[in-house]
């Protein structure tokens, strides 16, 4: 390898540090509400932690973006946001299910690279979606007792919501 002259080496270091990076961008807009790339990246890392190769990562990002769009559609369709107390109860429930105490669960969450605030938001979103699905299933007298039934109803509802919404996606 060719050795750099001493006068050039510091400039290379300067160039490397000055290289611009993408800080954030609007990845999609759902009825005027932006979906940020930073959230898409976080979601992809959380849901597909093993998608490291470029093509895999791209697929994971596309999936994460779609999930976030759907989450926005659901939140707009069902405006009953779970309260902090309900999130706390859900955390206790998860801890109990995993046979952990609260502190151990929180430690496990942070070990997985998620802050507690992020974890609470994930649970809030999951709880909201669950309630939305239960409410809509009652309205339509549709059973959601199995995973397949739940998924089928969710898919058909989300398709309806997507049709009604104005969604823009930016590559």
């Amino acid at each position: 390898m060719r050795v750099l002259p001493s006068v050039v080496a510091p400039l290379v270091a300067l160039a490397a540090s000055a290289q611009p990076v993408l800080v954030d961008r609007i990845a999609a807009v759902v009825d005027g509400e932006p979906v940020f790339q930073s959230d898409v990246e976080r979601r992809a890392s959380r849901d597909d932690p093993d998608a490291k190769a470029p093509q895999q990562r791209l697929r994971a990002l596309a999936r994460a973006r779609l999930d976030l769009i759907d989450a926005k559609l659901i939140a707009k369709d069902f405006r009953v946001t779970p309260t902090d107390a309900e999130i706390d109860a859900a955390i206790d429930g998860v801890a109990k299910g995993a046979k952990l105490d609260r502190a151990a669960l929180e430690a496990a969450v942070t070990r997985h690279g998620m802050s507690l605030a992020e974890y609470r938001e994930v649970l809030r979103s999951q709880l909201l979606e669950l309630r939305w699905l239960m409410t809509r299933s009652k309205e339509r007298s549709v059973s959601i007792s199995s995973d397949a039934e739940r998924e089928a109803l969710r898919t058909s509802l989300v398709v309806e919501l997507r049709k009604r919404a104005v969604i823009e996606v930016f590559e």
């Binding site: 750099l4 050039v8 400039l11 290379v12 300067l14 160039a15 490397a16 540090s17 000055a18 290289q19 611009p20 990076v21 993408l22 800080v23 954030d24 961008r25 609007i26 807009v29 005027g32 932006p34 940020f36 790339q37 930073s38 990246e41 104005v166 969604i167 823009e168 930016f170």
Partner: protein
Amino acid sequence: MRALLLAPAALIGCATTPPAPAATLPPSTPVATVCPTTAPERAAFMPGRVLGGRVEKVCLVGAGDETSLRLREELAPREGTKSDEDAVRSDLSALFATGLIREARVYGDVLPSKGVRLTYVVVERALVTTVRLEGAPALTPELRHQLEVKGFRDTATQRARLRDLATQFYESQGYAEAAIDFEPKPVAGGVELVMKVTEGPRFLVQALSFEGAKAIAVKELEKVVQTKPGNPVRSEVVAQDALRLNDAYFDRGYVAASVSHARLALPSGATDVTFTITEGPLFRVGDIVLKGALTPAALKGLETKKGAVFSPAAVRRDLERLRERARKDQGELEVTPFTELDEQKKTVKLTFEGTAK
């Protein structure tokens, strides 16, 4: 090596200030005062490299002079503050909310001073100078006038508004398969937005039939529905008609009746609409029970009688009577009706429960 040295120099290039190669900048040169003129060709998503650093310069790239001025108003003065994710998001949201841009990204780089330069790169939405309709002979002149607007930014929301306006009209006129597409064509000063309409056949009701109707005369059922021969076929009206027919049967004691609907359309659009009715048995009133704060004397004045054909309309009137009577004798009462079907006896047991308000 040259490539590595050129990349940052290109980024800090500015239309008004010729870029100085980074290698020749003396320490005191105010690099932060210049902005790039274009977006970086490739930049990895690595916010951690710049977030947390002190913002030294905020740049806006990609918009014309007039739009830039407007967008600048939306960018918070962040120079001297610590760069953070929420602030960046807030700025991106504010830029997008103007409706003037269709893309917004923010890049960051660390300046030789160790300060951070944030560069917002936007893509302006085209200005629609005219909307031109193609293939829409059925549109009324009034609606054409409403659609052929000009002087707005080409946003998804605006397109959706135009599409909805046209779709509502076509659905109301029976063009259930009308399709609308948009194609922007560059013209001086912006784009001409071509609204391409494929109207498809017009579906008109050719014949109306009520299969399975015995208890109620067809002539009467025809009055119940809003779908009429010669009118445009409207899916939502046909669906509502099925509910109206159901109510008509329910009100006549056929509480288990069900009505479905089907359409058979010819390629010309002429459509036969069929309501299929399963009437089920006629139900009569079984026992009538008064509970709670209601006194047995209240039974006397009721229109609903045991053995009579069950009529929800009569039950509704009886509810009012019970409330009125209670108001006079006992004060305000909440009266709730409960029904219980006996499939064997074909009766409906009625219970009225009164509770003090």
